[in-house]
């Protein structure tokens, strides 16, 4: 018998023979069967990527909107045990010199109430026509530069820098836009419209404003907010120290918020307030939902993966069982079992790879752009499809790994049968 080959040389030969056999098998296989298997792999891939991508996308859409219409890329806010950002005007100077800055908005915030029909005499036990929420004092132009609030106006108009007598209110406070009926919810009566006079009270001080516009988004800070000019807020709330509550920062495209945050920290801003990227500033419940949906998506993907593995297993097993004689002949003429197994693994890998490639094209060329342009309309977010190249690559790798195992096991089972029995069909 000839000298035994080295491990790598033998593996190289087994791979070459496996590839030779797999290539011919695939070339001469029934085209419809191959198409069907590839289609199953495509659906599996879509199940892996799209289902979890949409689940995560529901929350991601909410986070994106929170960033777009509220927090900006980076937000500086008061410490949890402090009312305001200390030395706000110094902080503003640092922000203005921040590399990559596109725009910023300085905000004053406080709890307040807004009352309509406050001159009317209330009957006994009649509830006042008022709501209570967060009031923000803003520079409308600067705020628009960061959050583009004016684009969210659904009725009336956005604030102008000279609108000292106007207020813009979120849609949450209007029955027309908020159909919720949960106990304790207070909204304005139907008679409050654009042009209505409303009494705003902050820290016991009140002033009358005209309702200029109604904002509607899917961000609670906007929908539940009330917005007046910053100069008005300072006067009404007695904020003569000019210390702010929030500074929302928008960065130029391509600027990393983490680097911007580091630059702010390096400038000592963290002594005066909390610096957070939009990711860090997301409400805790959204963060928890994101984690839960991520887990749910992974669980659904895992089930899809098992189904795909079983499909491949069945396909390869049926193929190997029906070709038992073929395998027997190969072994009979001296083809190494490993080369035969490799040929089956390569066949199943190719099915999965074609499914994954077609699936990736579908996801990145069609589905993702489609969902970006036409988000799914959910009550709390505009759901998008979250699919990153790195995340998808990991899922492709998992799919291929599952395919290798699913191709190997049935081929191995059939290979282990007695060579002569396989040849003679016993």
């Amino acid at each position: 018998m000839p000298k035994k080959q080295g491990v790598f040389e033998k593996l190289k030969i087994d791979l070459r023979v496996g590839l030779f056999l797999a290539k011919r098998e695939l070339q001469r296989a029934n085209k419809w069967t191959t198409t069907l298997i590839v289609f199953v792999m495509l659906l599996t891939f879509l199940n892996l990527v799209v289902v979890s991508g949409i689940l995560v996308g529901l929350i991601q859409g909410s986070l994106d909107q929170n960033k777009k219409f509220s927090s900006g890329d980076v937000i500086i806010s008061s410490f949890l045990n402090r009312d305001k950002v200390d030395n706000s005007q110094e902080v503003i100077k640092i922000v203005e010199n921040l590399p990559g800055l596109r725009a910023y908005s300085a905000r004053y915030t406080a709890g307040g109430s807004l009352q309509a029909g406050y001159r009317d005499v209330l009957l006994k036990d009649e509830k006042p026509n008022s709501v209570a929420g967060q009031v923000s004092g803003i520079d409308p132009q600067k705020e628009n530069g960061v959050t583009n609030l004016s684009s969210l106006i659904v009725e009336g108009a956005y604030l102008e820098p000279t609108d000292t007598e106007s207020i813009v209110v979120g849609s949450f406070w209007f029955r027309k836009y908020n159909k919720n009926e949960f106990p304790g919810l207070t909204t304005f009566n139907e008679d409050v419209k654009i042009g209505s006079r409303l009494l705003l009270t902050i820290n016991g001080a009140s002033k009358e404003y005209t309702l200029k516009g109604i904002l509607k988004s899917k961000v609670s800070e906007v929908d539940g907010g009330m917005f007046i000019l910053d100069s008005e807020f300072r006067k009404l709330a007695g904020r003569s120290d000019y210390n702010l509550n929030q500074i929302a920062i928008s960065l130029k495209p391509g600027t990393d918020p983490v680097i911007a945050k580091k630059a702010l920290l390096a400038s000592g801003v963290d002594k005066d307030g909390r610096v957070q990227t939009s990711e860090e500033a997301i409400p805790q419940f959204l963060d928890q939902i994101k984690t839960t949906f991520g887990l749910l998506g992974n669980a659904i993907s895992a089930i899809g993966l098992v189904v795909a593995a079983i499909t491949i297993f069945i396909v390869i097993f049926v193929n190997a069982i029906t070709r038992r004689r073929y395998i027997g002949i190969l072994k009979g003429i001296g083809i190494a079992p490993r080369a035969i197994i490799i040929s089956y693994i390569l066949q199943s890998l190719l099915y999965a790879l074609i499914g994954a490639i077609v699936g990736s094209i579908l996801v990145f060329a069609f589905l993702k752009p489609f969902f970006d342009a036409n988000p799914i309309d959910f009550p709390f977010s505009d759901g998008i499809l979250v699919a990153t190249v790195s995340g998808t690559s990991i899922r492709v790798a998992i799919l291929l790994l599952a395919t290798i195992v699913a191709g190997y096991i049935p081929a191995r089972i059939v290979i282990r049968q007695n060579t002569l029995s396989a040849i003679l069909g016993r």
């Binding site: 018998m1 000839p2 098998e25 073929y326 072994k331 003429i333 083809i335 190494a336 060579t419």
Partner: protein, 225 residues
């Protein structure tokens, strides 16, 4: 070249024991053309499967070039089949999804030859059996005789030390059978050792030596006059 000592193959059928090959011993020197004959059920094919290392005997030893093949692992037996043995089956046993050329190429690739070299050798082997014009045909596009010639080309392509042929003409007409046997004689003339199972006296008469089996035992072992 081949030495067999006390070889037995026993099958169990319920409580009954069937001795398909019963304590057989003989040896075959290099270059000999041996015909194993006998009636149906005499154990000649079973003996050939043991000699060709396609099955393991119940007892006894098979020495191929002084190497005790019965002691080899399954993988080593597969390697021995690849490098030293060629097998021709009664029903050709060629791979249906491979062309004639590819059928012959597979063992050569497994031996480690590059594709180009394997192809050249395969074309030579197919030409020797007169199939150079059908080498790109699939088995389904070939007649029985042509398929058997592919099987012969595959058996000789990797230049084995011994060729085992199990009733190679059983499914062929007399004209095609003659062509196949002519090919064997030509190979043998070049020094190829051949062990052929046949129940046709006319064909066994072409061999140097005829071993006749009955009930798994050798009843005669004679050189052909």
């Amino acid at each position: 070249m081949i030495k067999i000592n006390n070889l037995s193959k026993i099958f169990q059928s319920g409580d009954a024991e069937i001795r398909a090959v019963d304590n057989v011993s003989f040896s075959i020197p290099e270059g000999q053309f041996v015909a194993i004959t006998g009636r149906s059920g005499s154990g000649k094919s079973t003996l050939l499967y043991q000699l060709g290392l396609l099955d393991r005997p119940t007892a006894g030893e098979i020495f191929l070039d002084n190497l005790n093949a019965t002691e080899l692992s399954d993988n080593d037996q597969t390697r021995m089949r690849l490098h030293s043995l060629g097998y021709i089956f009664q029903d050709y046993a060629i791979l249906p999804s491979l062309t004639a050329l590819e059928n012959v190429m597979v063992p050569l690739l497994m031996q480690g030859l590059e594709e180009k070299e394997a192809k050249e050798k395969s074309i030579k082997a197919l030409s020797r059996v007169g199939l150079s014009d059908r080498m790109h045909n699939l088995p389904s596009q070939l007649s029985g005789g042509q398929q058997q010639r592919v099987s012969i080309a595959r058996a000789i392509g990797h230049e084995p030390k011994i060729i085992f042929a199990d009733e190679p003409t059983a499914n062929l007409d007399s004209e095609t059978s003659k062509n196949v046997l002519d090919a064997f004689l030509e190979l043998n003339k070049e020094g190829q050792t051949i062990v052929m199972v046949t129940h046709e006296p006319e064909y066994s008469a072409l061999a140097h030596r005829i071993i006749e089996l009955r009930d798994g035992k050798i009843v005669s072992d004679e050189m052909n006059k």
